[in-house]
């Protein structure tokens, strides 16, 4: 029962097939591990479920971005055409709302798209210049053809020997320690 070293980020198991990783993630989850993450070279829907991760709030962020763009775009045009620079064009009313719809639409799209991308990056904590998993040389294959499961040392159930044993029982290619 050695206490987790402070310089230890966690334990990493490498798998060769996506199915093995999903199975391992399910097993780790059912063993009660909560501070764990899985890394893959492409999105695996089952993996997200297996880890029991929450659903993202990104759609709400995008909706808000779209609304801000929509209202901002419309009121910009209203303010410009009615308040700041009222010009009579062919006797049309100053607040000629049908003519304002195309720009309102484009601003809605712009707001939503910016919210989608910036929101995704912000929620993911990117850009992130440093992360302990990159200390493992073999982790470079996570962007090619290998699949990794990491159980973090901060997990209450984490115990270096026990957790190593547990990961070994999942038949990974290798179990590695991740330095912080």
């Amino acid at each position: 029962m050695t206490p987790a070293r402070s310089s230890l980020y966690g334990l990493m198991a490498e798998f060769e097939h996506p199915s093995d990783l999903v199975e391992a993630a399910r097993a780790a989850s059912s063993q009660g591990y909560r501070c764990l993450d899985a890394y893959s070279p492409f999105p695996i829907e089952e993996l997200h479920e297996a880890l029991g991760s929450p659903h993202t709030r990104l759609p709400l962020v995008v909706l808000l971005g779209g609304l801000v763009g929509c209202l901002g775009g419309y009121f910009l045009q209203y303010w410009v055409s009615v308040i700041a620079y009222p010009i009579n064009v062919g006797g049309k009313p100053l607040h000629s709302w049908p003519a304002f719809i195309p720009v309102t639409f484009e601003c809605t799209i712009l707001g939503a798209a910016l919210a989608a991308v910036l929101g995704m990056l912000a929620l993911n904590g990117l850009p992130q210049p440093y992360h302990p998993v990159f200390n493992v040389p073999r982790f470079a294959l996570a962007s090619r053809d290998r699949f990794f499961l990491v159980i973090e040392a901060v997990d209450p159930r984490f115990d270096l020997e026990q957790t190593t044993g547990f990961l070994q029982s999942l038949h990974p290619r290798e179990v590695m320690t991740v330095d912080d």
Binding site: L58, V103, C107, A112, A113, P127
Partner: protein, 467 residues
């Protein structure tokens, strides 16, 4: 890191008979897909063909620089535009380039929502094409203002010292918003798609510069499951947002014409007919670029005959929609019983620009009917030729729309003819050079096929339930 870098089965020879249905040639694994696509970028030696092509494109880009410099020096008088044809090459080229861009968004967004998985190997490339086409398009209206550095106050709403604001009732301002939003969203979509591949390049690059540059661009992407979840949500939402956007952009471009009262322009068919024409010309451009690139880089495994055939079919359909547009346009002009309106098709067919008009009909309607034949759709040479012809036809279409309506308006006293000058042609050919130069840089420094999406397409990516 190079373990398992076995050579991929080469299928350069008779690419067409390899597979007519496959989206990826059989036998590929996660590692072969990754290595094959990333090696084009990471190879130290640049192929001589690249240098040759890039040099030619760069030379033309310099012609553009020269044309722009002379324009700034002398003003728009160096172009052929004058009363009554005030919208010449600049607007023709603008509409042509914007239209070409539309195929990229259609492939990456609409086909994604329709779950057309074959799009995966061409979407990155088509998105880059969109981005560069929009960049070329954007140049024209800006240059057309004559003094671009002064144009900004009536194009964009910002508090300026004159207290002047843009006129939001004008379709030209709608266009500014539509095109700038389109450029921004296309860039975001493209960049988001690139992030996982940039991480791959960061991890596989042998040079320090490569690791640092790709590393910064990848922003620390590590492929975490929760990150992928948010990433996929963002990507899908972006696709959903880009779909109405792409339709709106050419609609707004067509408003530039349709809101005016000029005969031949003031018609409600313009928005759908412009959007169909945009997709038509865009797919023609994707084929024009994809056919040589897949041959040069040996990418027949990923851009298969099925892709080319599907694109040919999309071209055939949109070409027929465009043909229907021409027909309706002429019919309504006659049916309106308005002498000015009914003069437009008559003038197009028999007037000063008749040769351009009939060439456009031949290029856009007659020749593409060959695509009904499977033999034509499976022949890269025939497809390439037809694609080039359609590109020319779509340029002529915009030329006819812009010029014929302006050169014969309501008052015979203000009639006049128009032709592009040397500087008009230089600017146009120059943007072709800029477009190609940017594409050459793109294929050299970024993966032209989405590696992450290709991995997910492989049969081994399927998770088998073992419980």
């Amino acid at each position: 890191m190079n373990e398992g870098l076995e050579p991929v089965a080469d299928s350069n020879g008779g690419a067409m008979e390899v597979a007519t249905r496959d989206v990826i040639a059989p036998g590929h694994t996660f590692s072969t897909v990754t290595d094959k696509i990333s090696s084009i970028v990471l190879a130290r030696r640049t192929p001589p063909g690249w240098w040759f092509g890039f040099a030619a494109a760069f030379l033309l880009t310099n012609l553009l620089m020269l044309a722009v410099a002379y324009l700034v020096l002398k003003g728009t008088g160096i172009w052929g535009v004058n009363v009554p044809v005030g919208w010449g090459f600049a607007i023709v080229n603008f509409v042509w380039w914007i239209g070409i861009g539309h195929a990229g968004t259609l492939i990456s967004a609409i086909l994604l929502l329709l779950k057309q998985s074959w799009r995966t190997s061409i979407n990155r490339f088509a998105e880059a094409m969109t981005l560069f086409a929009v960049a070329c398009a954007g140049l024209f209206p800006i240059l057309h203002t004559g003094r671009p550095w002064l144009a900004i106050y009536w194009l964009f709403p910002y508090p300026n010292t004159m207290g002047i604001w843009p006129q939001f009732r004008s379709p030209l301002i709608w266009d500014v918003f539509a095109v700038s939003t389109y450029a921004t969203v296309s860039l975001l979509f493209w960049f988001v798609g690139l992030i996982p591949d940039l991480a791959t390049l960061r991890d596989r690059s042998q040079s320090r510069v490569g690791r640092v540059v790709y590393g910064m661009l990848a922003m620390g992407w590590r492929g975490s499951s929760m990150h992928w979840h948010r990433y996929e949500t963002a990507y899908l939402l972006l696709a959903g947002i880009a779909t109405p956007l792409v339709v709106s952009v050419h609609t707004v471009v067509s408003f530039d014409f349709a809101i005016a009262i000029l005969p031949g322009w003031h018609t409600t068919i313009f928005p759908p007919y412009f959007v169909a024409g945009a997709i038509y010309s865009g797919f023609a451009m994707v084929l024009t670029l994809a056919i040589p690139i897949r041959a040069i880089y040996g990418l027949e495994d990923f851009i298969t005959s099925r892709h080319l055939q599907n694109m040919a079919k999309v071209m055939l359909v949109t070409g027929l929609v465009v043909a229907y547009g021409y027909l309706t346009e002429a019919f309504i002009a006659w049916y309106s019983a308005d002498p000015f309106e009914s003069y437009v098709p008559f003038n197009r067919g028999t007037g000063f620009y008749a040769s351009q008009y009939w060439s456009l009909i031949a290029c856009n309607i007659v020749v593409p009917q060959l695509l009904w034949f499977k033999k034509v759709r499976t022949s890269t040479r025939a497809l390439f030729t037809i694609a080039i012809i359609v590109n020319i036809g779509m340029w002529l279409e915009r030329y006819i729309i812009v010029v014929t309506s302006l050169h014969r308006d309501f008052l015979p006293s203000s009639w006049g003819n128009y032709a592009g000058t040397f500087w008009d042609w230089s600017t146009f050919v120059g943007t072709l050079g800029l477009f190609l130069a940017l594409l050459f840089l793109f294929v050299r420094f970024l993966p032209m096929i989405s590696i992450a999406e290709m991995r997910a397409m492989l049969p081994e990516a399927k998770v088998e339930g073992r419980e």
